[in-house]
Amino acid sequence: MFRIRKIFDETMEQDVDEMKKSKIKLTGILRVIGLSAYFTFALTPIIWILMMSLKNHNDVIATPPKFIFTPTIENYKAITVGMKSYAFESVRPDFPKYFLNTFIIASFTVIVSLFLGTIAAYSLARFSFRFKEDIAFTFLSFRFAPELMVILPLYVVFQKMHLYDTFVGLILAYQLITLPFLIWVLRGFFEEIPREIEQAARVDGYTWWGVFRRISLPLVKPGIAAVVVLSFIFAWNNFIFAMILGSERTQPITLGILGFIGYERVLWGQMAAATIICVIPELLLAFFVQKYIIRGLTFGAVKG
């Protein structure tokens, strides 16, 4: 009797083990299905645009869509050096100008923000003074305000001050995107430095400036790198500021790409090529600071 019971128990255990195993297998299969579904959704548009950028005009507009085709770089040629393709004149040889405009605006915006913002961030992180939290809060609430609420009146001001459609004007306006972001996130990085380190340096006779330059600044270098890259990407990606406050002269790449699709002509192939050229530099940059992206996108709320 006792023996039988033991055998019974053992077989039961085996059954349970088997159930567990098949359960693990099942969750594994479900995981593969779920992830494939999501990543198909996530990657198809990118792959499709990449393919489209390598198609000639007839393949681009083919119905049903073509998956197998002879790749060509004519779209890239058309937008960079300008090239006559089929009935379509080289339509956007000014694309390099848009690229350059974006590069100028984004770089100077970030440089200005970095110079102005780093010390401000340190000061907000380390010193206690009145209105400190009010300044910080106003920055945060601008992050959550509809952009036009501020840009539309700014458009009126810019018209009057002759800053409309100038690089200086745009770089100043772009500070509203990058400066609050940079100050807010960098402040978090400075706050993470243990006070004891700075205090020890002060005891050793450093002035606050010496502490800032020789101790704190080197310690937040990775943070600064991340914030610089992300500010650059935000400035690069911006559309609404440039659309309202600029025009033909300062037009950046985001507006330029939109220009491929107008009422008279729809140049999907060239639009796709422009998209790829626009996106590649920032993706390369983004992968370098991958670790900090979520921290940046949440204004420092998620560390990690």
């Binding site: 779920g34 992830l35 999501y38 990543f39 959704f41 996530a42 990657l43 548009p45 499709w48 119905t63 049903p64 869509p65 102005l116 010390i119 000061s123 380390r126 010193f127 003074f129 300044i135 106003t138 945060l140 609430s141 601008f142 959550f144 305000a145 509809p146 952009e147 036009l148 609420m149 501020v150 840009i151 539309l152 009146p153 700014l154 009126v156 001001v157 100043l172 500070q175 509203l176 400066l179 100050i183 006070r195 205090q199 002060r202 690069w236 990606n237 559309f239 985001t254 790409i257 699709i261 626009c278 996106v279 993706l283 992968f287 992206i293 979520i294 996108l297 949440t298 709320a301 990690g304």
Partner: protein, 299 residues
């Protein structure tokens, strides 16, 4: 002792110094506040771009006019339908994919790295990419694939019945990685002990998820809601790039309407009313959600 030290070192060397150092911050502040206040002032005027020399104070006339128009209430409704839909979808999709990605398996790092791509592409460009995918005839890839299932072709962005849904799909594509990555961070920092206790007690997986994982992830849920709700209430880029509010104003959100009030009808006063109302909505939700989030962190 440490406290004394802290006090000593927190006190700036010269009283004015922190203000001097944060001067750039204060300048940016003025850059934000001055146009903002000017904008609120414009809501009470008849400011029109074509007759810009003659700005007259007209009190609440703009507000009364706009509140009595169905266009405004329709835009308000569309704004909320869009915002709530994307928040709910992105939260649930984000959590599901995050759970699938939170267990180690070969290639998981690569998949997580791929997630940053949609977030780093300019939204306007993502929207254009989707415009290609969603082309109305079988020329569009999505319609082409759906034709094998005997569905369609659907006009997507071109039909007032499906335009808003198309925009929701685009927004979900761009921003669900944001939710996924925050949920992954949250899942990885979950405490182990309660889970071991639950396993000893023989709790079912669903029970553990509902009673343990979800409450523990509450701060992450609030944070994602904060960013996604506000950003989708003020959505602009992806609509401007695709439907511009059409067809038949089926996708005309408050932000989009305000743009056309200003640049099609030249009426800055009315445009600013739309923006001010949208700003109040964003502000109230942002304030509430940041408070909630802070309270959760305190606990």
């Amino acid at each position: 002792m440490t406290n004394q030290l802290n006090n000593k070192f927190d006190r700036p060397p010269q009283r004015g110094l922190p203000y001097l150092l944060s001067l750039p911050a204060l300048l940016a502040l003025i850059g934000i506040l001055y146009p903002f206040i000017l904008g609120v002032y414009y809501t009470f005027t008849n400011y029109n771009l074509t007759t810009s020399d003659n700005i007259k104070w007209i009190g609440l006339k703009n507000y009364i006019e706009i509140f009595s128009e169905t266009e405004f209430w329709k835009a308000l409704g569309i704004t909320f339908i869009f915002a709530l839909s994307v928040v709910i979808i992105e939260l649930s999709l984000g959590l599901s994919v995050a759970i699938l990605l939170s267990h180690p398996f070969p290639g998981v790092q690569l998949l997580r790295a791929l997630l940053i791509i949609p977030m780093m592409i300019p939204p306007i460009v993502s929207a254009l990419m989707w415009k290609v995918i969603l082309l109305p005839t079988n020329q569009g890839v999505l319609n082409y694939f759906l034709s094998f299932l005997g569905i369609g072709p659907i006009a997507w962005l071109g039909d007032s019945g499906t335009a808003l849904i198309s925009l929701i799909i685009i927004d979900v594509w761009i921003y669900s990685p944001f939710a996924i990555l925050i949920f992954i961070a949250g899942l990885q920092s979950l405490p182990k002990e309660p889970y071991e206790a639950a396993r000893v007690d023989g709790a079912s997986g669903w029970f553990v998820f509902r009673k343990l994982t979800l409450p523990l992830l509450a701060p992450n849920i609030v944070l994602i809601t904060l960013f996604r709700l506000i950003d989708s209430l003020k959505v602009f880029d992806i609509i401007y790039a695709t439907t511009k509010g059409g067809p038949a104003s089926a996708t005309a959100t408050l932000h989009i309407v305000s743009y056309f009030e200003a640049f099609r009808w030249n009426n800055i006063g009315r445009s600013m009313v739309y923006l001010f109302i949208l700003w109040i909505l964003c502000f109230v939700f942002a304030k509430f959600l940041t408070k909630l989030w802070n309270r959760m962190l305190m606990r």
